[in-house]
Amino acid sequence: MPNLRDIRTRIRSIKNTQQLTYTMKLVSATKLRRAQEQVLAARPYARRMLQVLNSLATRAHPESHPLLQRRPEEKLELVVVTADRGLCGGFNANILKTTVGEMRLRQGADLSVTAVGKKGRDYFRRRRFVLRKELVDIFRKVSYIHAAELAQDLMQRYVSGERDAVYFVYNEFKSAIQQRVVVEKLLPIERLPDEGRLLPVDYLYEPAQAEIFEQLLPKHVEVQVFRALLESAAAEHGARMAAMDSATRNAADLIDNLTLNMNKVRQAGITKEILEVVAGAAALE
């Protein structure tokens, strides 16, 4: 029979854990809200840029741009976006599973991997896989500068011919409790999404259209990277919130069961004592 004191200690310890997971859930909820706002704040810029790009693409000659050139995909770069921290359910595991699957799929190709986020980096390190580049500790505050630097590095590798294509593996933010792992081709730019109508007016251009187009295209890539990072950040907080919510509920279930158990043990103890007293009294008569 379990000891009464042991059960009490356990209940106390689970209560502590529960408090912790509950707090983490609240913190994640706040961070999620902020991350969502950031995603929203990034939209007007991206939309405007697409409008202008689309309207220019019809006038300039986009095929010639180096970022649009398609080559046979022999040398690939995978950019794996995980979180810096754990305790967020399957968030990191799902990404890494997909990544490993992709790598198996392209076993013949020359692969190099860039890891964004500590969890992904540690995963590859443990397996003695040499990463080309790592970028950690950027999710505390995702800034455009980080995204721009990463994008420039990737573009440089692509344009110089070191890599034939660049893929992104990241968690897309669907809703607060839902994430989806996506594998997205960043380079070459397949086609510009048709979001946003064409600009209705004929402008004066300064400098010429083709030149503006050439300047805008790399910015478009930067914005894509920025968006992927923001999505991942929002998805991470959503995943952590959901994970901590179910952990809090599991702790409550455990406490209920243990309390029931404790009461049973206590009851049994009392019954036993009464029996002993009665038996003792009977023996005296």
Binding site: Y144, D202, Y203, L204, E206, Q215, V223
Partner: protein, 143 residues
């Protein structure tokens, strides 16, 4: 009919910096500074590292921008900039430090230095310093 005001909107990837009606503005176009008043012909231009001047009544304000582009319509101007800071948001000490760093890098003939990058960094720092100090001058009525 010429509209009376320009509806100005400045957006960066991180936030909407400014959205209001103004009288006149001067932009740092890639091919030189250009002034915009209500009724301007539709224009699409890229912007270089520089300062934007915004005039509204008697009030003049400055912003520092790095790369971006501007869409000008008769009654509306949309500016998409990589970074845009109002004069009062600029950290002058940091800008000074960035300037010193960049100058040092440009002076030393080190083959590893990315010359172009250091130059851009210097430009940005100088513009920030200029904008921050000009804003001070404007508030004292010296411009």
């Amino acid at each position: 009919m010429v509209p009376e005001k320009i509806q100005l909107e400045i957006v960066t990837p991180e936030r909407v910096v400014l959205s209001e009606a103004v009288d006149e503005l001067i932009l740092p176009g890639t091919q030189g500074y250009l002034g915009v008043r209500p009724g301007h012909a539709p224009l699409l231009t890229t912007l270089q590292v520089g300062s934007i001047l915004i005039a509204k009544g008697n009030e003049k304000r400055f912003l520092a921008v790095s790369w971006g582009f501007a869409e000008v319509l008769p009654d509306r101007v949309a500016i998409l900039a990589e970074t845009a800071e109002r004069a009062e948001e600029i950290d002058l000490v940091r800008a000074q430090r960035a300037r010193e760093r960049a100058e040092e890098r440009l002076k030393k003939p080190d083959p590893n230095t990315d010359f172009r990058r250091a130059q851009v960094a210097l430009e940005k720092a100088l513009i920030r310093i200029q904008v921050a100090s000009r804003a001070g001058a404007a508030s004292r009525g010296e411009i």
